[in-house]
Symmetry: C2
Subunit: 417 residues, 2 copies
């Protein structure tokens, strides 16, 4: 049996943080957000990262299946990406005029992403989902936006719920929420809101939190695409989370349709700070008409990093290897669960796998198991999809399954008593 | 007479960009935005930057008074900031857990900024102005926001105008616009909207575009502060542009009052990508309650850069030296204008000077003069405030005044004919 990790330095740092940072660590990385449950099993601060590994402040080493919640796709500190970034940094980064590396990056995205006739760069995923909504409204002169329940499209008030702090009715009063994969409901909503719907915004499949992830039903996207075409509605794919882990040509391409607008961020530059809104020609002039920019949106270093990242992803056929690694891990985890009489649901793409121990509707058993994994060096999270990166080795997968096995045995033992 | 710069490579790059990027270059850096008029006198892409200088794609060298529109405060590629950033980059940047350098940066801001009891980090200035609005609404349970005409608080729909593409009535229907420095109008607005105003959001002085910049009237901020206190309204200072160029303790401190929330971005880390919302204790729990985060918001490298930047700014007393340099330049430019019978209005803080040739209400003369300066190697902009950085030398100022003088003489000659 492995010795369980302890986190005294993480806890001390968190206490220090709480004095000067609201909630100490906010958002998806914070212990209050919900994905970290059970909180006490998790470290809170990192001291270093390399490849697929993360070390916490107490020196504990983890095989990190969160990958910075997506950005780490090639492995932390990838030498090729870092070298390209350092080369650009020595020349310039954030200056009064953009460096033409911005054009090179746009060219590469247009060459790579099937639905990209152009690229517009920003910083956050939220910047580009918001830009997409503004583009759709400006183009259609309509206001309403259709979302699929379980969505996450960023943090702007328009993406939140009216009962969330700081959000007002006006922020969300044009939002319509439809069940994922329910084309009849979607059609009805379109009939009830004729000529009023500017856009559908959706992830390529339902990879929401606190739920088994769901692939699109057979033909779903083709029907949605046709509905948008028939009604002059802009189809926005939010590929911030899944982008480049499913298909380098875009997750819409993976499912055999073309988005009108597609949003990228996380995996775009292996952790360098950039996001991109890409789209079809007919929307280009509308995007040009927006008042939309930011202080660092044309910084050169992330563009250089993005070029190196995409070129390397192409070279190694990244989605294929991530899904192969993910599949191997998935098979191993399911088998380990079965050994102890458990059913582990592993849903979503293998490169973005979501875990749920099916034998307990309260999630408590699942959380116990996650806690046992984390405290042995496998950084899983409670109720969020995971991410595979290219630096994950077969040995890492073997060790992960070993630890998962040990964690299952502990949970089984406890509950057999 | 100096030979005028030409920009064939910038123009060719722009043509290439227009094929794959909406409008080629968007926002404040783009030639369509309005500040670049006359466009043909300006380069469009940079090849490198160092200290106070920028080189365009055609190899022309400029003394750059735009400083990346603010981020360049210590000089491009400042060795101390870059070294701190590189040291952190070798360890980690964007990872699953934050590095405690985030806490160190928050500690430093709390020590430095008078109205900061805490700090919350994001990426864009717009992220933190939006976070401030959400905080004010969540805290007060009110909806309305008061703006001063001529404001710029970012690019989210709530900060824009209803007739801007992509903006809908609901985005801005709770905005109230008041004349800068008009306390009577402000008081009347508060009476008419009793218990409905969540916040006033304002720059520390009116540094809008296409207008002479205006300092607050004597006692204006003290009256506004009292009005906010009396009515339970949150006072938000948007220090994104002026922050650290007026006063390291915050531009509210410069004017002798305390903001409830203060927004920083540009000069915070000498071009590394970070923004910060700081504020008073009574709002800390409200900020904690927001659903507000982003993929790169806890990346470690910009925090390390920010620490090095602020420490260096303290060491060299940055606002003082920037304002001295700015004053010297201002005096030189005004004298050069006078030599040719022109009146040059130089408004705002010297470290953020705004230029307007007063002798022509059409702005055409002003634009002609700006064009002559730019084509001789002084990067001024038509109708936006400028920025001083610490690497600007007395020789640079002398050369700038010499070029400005030559530019005035050309304009004078033309109009005397």
């Amino acid at each position: 049996m492995r010795k369980l990790y302890e986190y005294p330095k993480s806890r001390a740092a968190f206490e220090r943080a709480c004095k000067v940072i609201p909630s100490g660590i906010y958002g998806h990385q914070g212990p209050v957000e919900g994905c970290y449950v059970p909180i006490e099993a998790f470290p809170l601060y990192s001291s270093k990262a390399q490849g697929t590994y993360l070390w916490d402040l107490d020196g504990n080493k983890f095989i990190d299946y969160m990958c910075a919640y997506g950005p780490n796709i090639l492995g932390y500190n990838d030498p090729d990406v870092d070298e390209a970034a350092a080369r650009q940094r020595a020349i310039s980064d954030c200056t009064t005029l953009p460096n033409p590396v911005m054009i090179d990056f746009a060219d590469l995205l247009v060459d790579t992403v099937a639905s990209a006739d152009w690229a517009f760069f920003a910083k956050n995923g939220n910047d580009v989902t918001t830009g997409a909504i503004m583009t759709a409204r400006a183009y259609t002169h309509r206001k309403k936006i259709v979302f699929f329940k379980g969505y996450y499209h960023g943090v702007s008030p328009w993406t939140q719920k009216v009962d969330y702090p700081g959000v007002i009715e006006e922020d969300v009063c044009n939002n319509i929420y439809v069940e994922w994969n329910n084309f009849e409901e979607l059609s009805r909503v379109f009939e009830e809101n004729r000529d009023q719907i500017a856009a559908i915004i959706a992830q390529p499949y339902m990879h929401g939190n606190f739920m088994d992830n769901q692939m699109p039903a057979e033909g779903f996207w083709q029907k949605v695409r046709k509905l948008c075409d028939d009604t002059g509605t802009v189809l926005i794919i939010d590929d911030v989370r899944a982008g480049f882990r499913m298909d380098l040509a875009g997750s819409d391409h993976y499912f055999g349709f073309k988005a009108d607008l597609i949003c990228f961020c996380k995996a775009l530059a292996n952790g360098y700070n950039v996001s991109a809104l890409c789209g079809r020609d007919f929307l280009k002039n509308t995007v040009s008409s927006l008042s939309y920019t930011g202080s660092y949106w044309m910084s050169a270093v992330p563009f250089a990093a993005g070029i190196a990242c995409i070129e390397k992803m192409k070279k190694i056929d990244c989605p294929r290897i991530l899904n192969e690694k993910g599949q191997k891990l998935k098979d191993g985890l399911i088998a380990a669960a079965a050994k102890y009489g458990y059913t582990l649901n592993v849903t979503g793409m293998p490169s973005l796998f979501y875990l749920r121990l099916a034998d307990d509707p309260t999630f408590m058993l699942h959380q116990e198991w996650i806690a046992q994994c984390v405290q042995r060096g496998v950084f899983f999270t409670g109720h969020h999809n995971h991410f595979i990166n290219a630096a994950l080795s077969d040995d890492d997968i073997r060790e992960t399954v070993e630890i998962a096995d040990e964690a299952f045995s502990v949970v089984r033992d406890r509950h057999d008593k």
